[in-house]
């Protein structure tokens, strides 16, 4: 007996808000089953994963540090996704921003450059990400190519480019042949917010991004045009909002923010350019954006939740010898769960009788 989805007429706001919670619960259940299957006590595993990291100041700081790139990228993605443009390539834009920003850090390395270096790096980072993001936008506008595919493919181009740079021209000559650049000068590094730990000024930038995005998306004509282009393209054209401009605009913004996150990460917690500057932040941020209901404040919360899976994953790697892939499974399950919860809230599943004639 075939099943069919049917759109529901009235969906209460409460149910829509409940969808992410539902998804979280579902993910935890799947997680428990997975732990049992791997031969671990699920209670202990959950405690190591999700409870213990919240217990001390150091890991709490780490949590915020990990949430920072997710948040910045996720806020940018909200612009794209609200406009119904599916930028899947934030990871590539993150790398592109990191590379362009690092170029300045490396070019001025060892010189007498002043405190202007870091701000200039941030600008270049945003620029690099934006340019990388504009490529799929251009391909979509000009040739009608699916931005989902092109943005994703450009991730690999960016990663391989980075790989080439740090193994080739930008490799630290005194680095024992390790594929990484020299360590950045102090003027090219994000200032720390506290004496101890790794909490850096990028957090402040992230919070500013949340505030600005909340305002732009919620209160301005630009935000309105993005929303309108996403939900009713023909009405948007009638209102006089050019769909090409919207496409370029949202890709530029989300690319710029991803690039900014990239350079902040490199100039902050990492300190030099390496092939592994991201544990998949650009992809995880997609989950953060969806889980946060494409609202900047929601994405703030979602980023913290997802950062927890990173931290817990690291802890579990050490104390339970669980592979880091478990974290990936968590994140993936969460994404699928949130997408499914959305569908189930908005639509209802019905049985339809097999073919029959009147």
């Amino acid at each position: 007996m075939p099943l069919k989805f049917e759109r529901q007429e009235n969906v209460s706001a409460l149910r829509l808000a409940a969808a992410p919670l539902l998804a979280l619960v579902f993910t935890l259940i799947v997680g428990a089953i997975m732990f049992v299957a791997l031969g671990h006590d699920p209670i202990r595993a959950f405690s190591i994963y999700f409870i213990q990291p919240l217990g001390d100041v150091y890991t709490l700081q780490e949590l915020v540090v990990k949430a920072c790139p997710l948040l910045i990228i996720g806020v940018g993605l909200a612009f794209c996704y609200r406009a119904n443009r599916w930028n899947i390539g934030a990871e590539g834009q993150y790398v592109a921003g990191a590379v362009l920003g690092s170029w300045l850090a490396l070019a001025t390395n060892g010189g007498e450059a002043g405190p202007w270096v870091l701000p200039a790096m941030l600008v270049l980072g945003a620029l690099g990400g934006a340019l990388w993001g504009l490529i799929p936008a251009f391909l979509r506008v000009r040739f009608g190519a699916s931005e989902i595919l092109t943005s994703l493919m450009l991730v690999y181009v960016a990663q391989l480019g980075l790989d080439y740079l740090v193994r080739g021209p930008w490799r630290d000559p005194a680095g024992f042949n390790f594929p990484q650049s020299v360590t950045f000068d102090p003027v090219a590094v994000m200032p720390l917010l506290m004496e101890e730990g790794r909490l850096h000024a990028g957090i402040i930038i992230a919070l500013i991004a949340v505030a600005v995005a909340t305002f732009v998306l919620g209160r301005t004509l630009t935000g309105f045009s993005i929303e309108l282009a996403g939900t009713a393209p023909r009405a948007a054209a009638f209102a006089g909002f050019d769909e090409k401009r919207v496409t370029y605009g949202v890709f530029a913004v989300s690319g710029a923010l991803a690039g900014l996150a990239g350079i902040i990460e490199v100039a902050g917690p990492i300190g030099n350019l390496q092939p592994t500057i991201s544990p998949g932040y650009g992809f995880t941020a997609i989950i953060a954006a969806m889980l946060g209901r494409l609202h900047p404040v929601g994405i703030l919360v979602a980023s913290l939740v997802l950062a927890l899976t990173y931290i817990g994953g690291e802890a579990a790697q050490i104390s339970m010898r669980l592979p880091f892939d478990v974290t990936r499974v968590f994140q993936g399950t969460l994404l699928i769960a949130i997408l499914a919860a959305d569908v189930l809230v908005r639509y209802r599943l019905r049985r339809v009788e097999g073919t029959s004639h009147a």
Partner: protein, 519 residues
């Protein structure tokens, strides 16, 4: 008369609603409404905009579930969990707002609604058959996105007929059909009822109802008011039942001064790229301040392309459209609105309004460039709310709740909203496509009067409509659109239904494509 039906002892009731109630929050859209559709009868459902007609229809086919009350099918209680299950029982519905997929062809859309897997070519042949039989023109291989509202309406009707329904429910099918097409539909309805099927017919055109229907149920404010024999009633007595008070007559035309040309269309040609109806061939038109010009014609003859060329959604040669002496053919919609032009497209859900946005946000669609509501790119809420309240009060837009999504409004009320939104901008030129699509008699009269008043204040008005009577009633000159060409407008006093009908069928000697002429 319903002689044949009356002949049998008591015509069997095919589908019956018993005391159906539906609430949307605090609003009771249907309050213990009963209605029975009998075999061999055409039953009318009448009521003002927002009376609850569409809601009742949705409950009778399973799209909405009633809060209380029940449905009887051939006398036995039945629950339709969804429209698919009512369709398999032979209940076919043509909804007021269409449910077609823009990206697919007509035949693909039809296939989606039918059980089983029929090859598309066979289905297309069946569509052509149906078209032959019922005189409703539908081209199976066109993409639905290219079709105008009138064409979509025909697709919906044909799709429904192909399902071979025993009960056919038509929610305002004639509001975007030309008189000829409506005639074809009426013949079809008569044919169906003579075969013992039942039809539920919703319309705001009371003359049609009186001609076509055997019985009529009147709703007001969600409540059952009366069941009457429309043939025994007059249009005004029916209207009185619907409104609960005397209906004001549309004031006669007031002649007034014509001023400067506000809209000049010069040699407007749009190449036929196959999108959005026919191409346009060398359109010329002049509308002066104070004048209302109507464009008649069967839907799909280039009206949509003309509208988009005028609104700026499809800009072209700068000189081809001149608004208030400014060459505007190359400008986009916002720049044209800055010249104090206002536009109302025919499709209200998805084109004139964003279905899933709150109604107040929909105000922004056409007012964002006017200053006041948006300053320095920031939306100011109190002026927005004030403008919104102005539309709601001034145009009597009724809905449940404070600020529902546009999708939640009844068809006629949304129409009043999009008209009001434009009129309150105080434009010097209004281009409106199907101004009274789906609004009740009183509201239609109000909209026409409002447009008249605008004209009297020096606004130029262009009305595209399939409703010939409407055009004859309140425009000054009428032009006819056919196959992308426009006849020169002639003063209403110097033309007649017949002359216009003839021109609509094709002014270049081609045979009529939309139904045959009875006249």
């Amino acid at each position: 008369m319903a002689a044949s039906a009356e002949g049998a002892a008591a015509p069997a009731s095919l589908l019956e609603a018993v005391e159906l109630t539906k609430r949307f929050g605090a609003l009771v859209a249907n309050d213990h409404v009963s209605l029975s559709i009998r075999a061999g009868e055409t039953h009318a459902l009448l009521g003002e905009n927002g009376a609850g007609k569409s809601t009742l229809v949705k409950m009778m086919c399973g799209l909405l579930q009633p809060d209380s009350g029940e449905l009887l099918y051939e006398g036995a209680p039945i629950v339709f969990p969804d429209p698919a299950s009512s369709r398999t029982r032979g209940v076919g519905v043509v909804f007021q707002h269409f449910a077609l997929f823009d990206a697919m062809t007509v035949v693909e859309n039809v296939a989606l609604g039918l059980p089983g897997h029929e090859p598309l070519s066979a289905l297309a042949a069946r569509i052509d058959d149906c078209v032959q039989r019922y005189g409703l023109t539908v081209e199976p291989w066109r993409r639905v996105g290219e079709l105008s509202v009138g064409e979509r309406q025909r697709v919906e009707i044909v799709r429904c007929l192909l399902g071979n329904p025993r009960v056919l429910i038509l929610d305002e099918p004639t509001s975007v059909l030309t008189p000829d097409e409506s005639e074809s539909l009426f013949r079809t309805v008569d044919l169906l009822t003579s075969e013992g099927r039942a039809v539920l017919f919703i319309s705001h055109k009371l003359d049609e109802v009186r001609r076509l229907c055997h019985r009529a149920t009147v709703l007001r404010g969600g409540k059952f008011i009366a069941e009457v024999d429309p043939k025994q009633e007059t249009a005004s007595s029916l209207a009185r039942l619907m409104v609960g008070a005397e209906v004001p007559r549309t004031p006669r035309l007031v002649t007034h001064e014509m001023g400067e040309p506000r809209l000049l269309v010069r040699n407007l040609t749009v190449a036929g790229d196959g999108s959005r109806g026919s191409a346009l061939h060398d359109i010329n038109l002049e509308i002066r301040a104070g004048e209302i010009v109507g464009i008649a014609g069967v839907a799909g003859n280039g009206q949509t392309a003309l509208f988009e060329a005028l609104s700026g959604e499809a800009p072209g040669d700068p000189e081809s459209v001149v608004i208030d002496t400014v060459p505007a053919g190359g400008l986009g919609p916002t720049e044209r609105r800055a010249l104090r032009a206002g536009f109302v497209p025919e499709e209200r859900l998805g084109h004139a309004a964003a279905p899933d946005m709150p109604l107040s946000d929909n105000v922004l669609l056409t007012t964002h460039g006017d200053g006041g509501i948006v300053s320095h790119g920031v939306v100011r809420h109190s002026p927005l709310k004030r403008y919104f309240q102005g539309i709601v009060k001034g145009f009597d837009v009724r809905f449940g709740g404070k600020d529902p999504k546009a999708r939640r409004l009844s068809g006629g009320n949304l129409q009043k909203f999009v008209i009001g939104r434009e009129v309150l901008r105080d434009p010097v030129l209004i281009v409106v496509d199907q101004p009274t699509w789906g609004v009740d008699a009183a509201a239609a009269a109000f909209i026409r009067t409002t447009l008249r008043e605008r004209a009297a204040k020096g606004c130029a008005v262009l009305v595209i409509s399939q409703d010939l009577d409407e055009l004859l009633e309140f425009t000054d000159r009428i032009a006819v659109m056919s196959e992308g060409r426009l006849t020169p407008p002639v003063p209403v006093a110097e033309t007649s239904r017949e002359a216009i009908g003839l021109a609509m069928g094709g002014m270049h000697g081609h045979g009529a494509e939309g139904g045959s002429h009875a006249a």
